[in-house]
Symmetry: C2
Amino acid sequence: MLIEKELKISKQLPECKRALLNLLFTGNWITDEITSTLKPFDITTQQFNVLRILKGRNGEPCSLQTIQERMINKMSNTTRLVDKLIKKNYVEREQCETNRRKVDIKITEDGINALNVINDAVDDAETKMTDSLSENELHHLNALLNKFRTKTYA
Amino acid sequence: MLIEKELKISKQLPECKRALLNLLFTGNWITDEITSTLKPFDITTQQFNVLRILKGRNGEPCSLQTIQERMINKMSNTTRLVDKLIKKNYVEREQCETNRRKVDIKITEDGINALNVINDAVDDAETKMTDSLSENELHHLNALLNKFRTKTYA
DNA sequence: GCACTACATTTGTATCAACAACAATTGTAA
DNA sequence: TTACAATTGTTGTTGATACAAATGTAGTGC
């Protein structure tokens, strides 16, 4: 659907403004879909994200800083986000031995199990969300987005 | 830049997951840019958005519901968002005469003046942000995004 | 007019996020 | 080995946000 129609904008926008609105709107759309997919599992998208990052490291612990770097939305307080996951017994925290400023965060068995279950639901949702584009179109979209974020220096 | 590199993901993702990450990441990137553009003007992106919506109506008042429909991210509490704008003297609120359940929100002179100034800054930022893509590529991107959001029913 | 439902907005509450101040640790260099 | 700067994480405060319940208004059938 045309973004102008979606947001009930009467006049036609220049292509660049339209692209920005379209990106923001589509991003929110995806966020909403994933949020509601995760709702039954009582976990937020950010918490889910952290679990995925930790699992991606195959048991290797991860500092808060490393987690933050890899998050889709860089947030200002990873400490408290991890606190939530500790309360749920999905991750463990301990002081890093080689650099005592750091904290090692590790995913627990419980966390891995939970993540496996949740991942199935999310995979489903993700597949459905990208249904309308062909593999080729998705590839093209990715290329455009990567290029989009390229900073051009004058 | 490749999204895998941006988020330091070691393995290659399937195209569909990559597209979703890419969209979310790019959306956040845009939000961050606009947020920092607006910061000196002491206004949030959502408040700015509401002002733009109201100005787009050329003086015609607008109910809360109408505003909500047209916002990029549908939020749960437009009342308090408008409260903030009233405090700043950018908008006025009065009960709608024809339907007293509704409230008419109108942008004030102050609001229009502020918006004009802010718009210049935002236009600049928006132009810079879309610099890396050609008009043609932007058009293509828009087409893909519109298609992306098409729901396919089985 | 009265009960009933739908609608539009507001309010209460709990949670979440941004920002800044702080503390602890490490690295470096006189 | 002391001094100073940089890194890493935590905590307090304040404001924003989501969700649910409540309020007030309109329309509809009787």
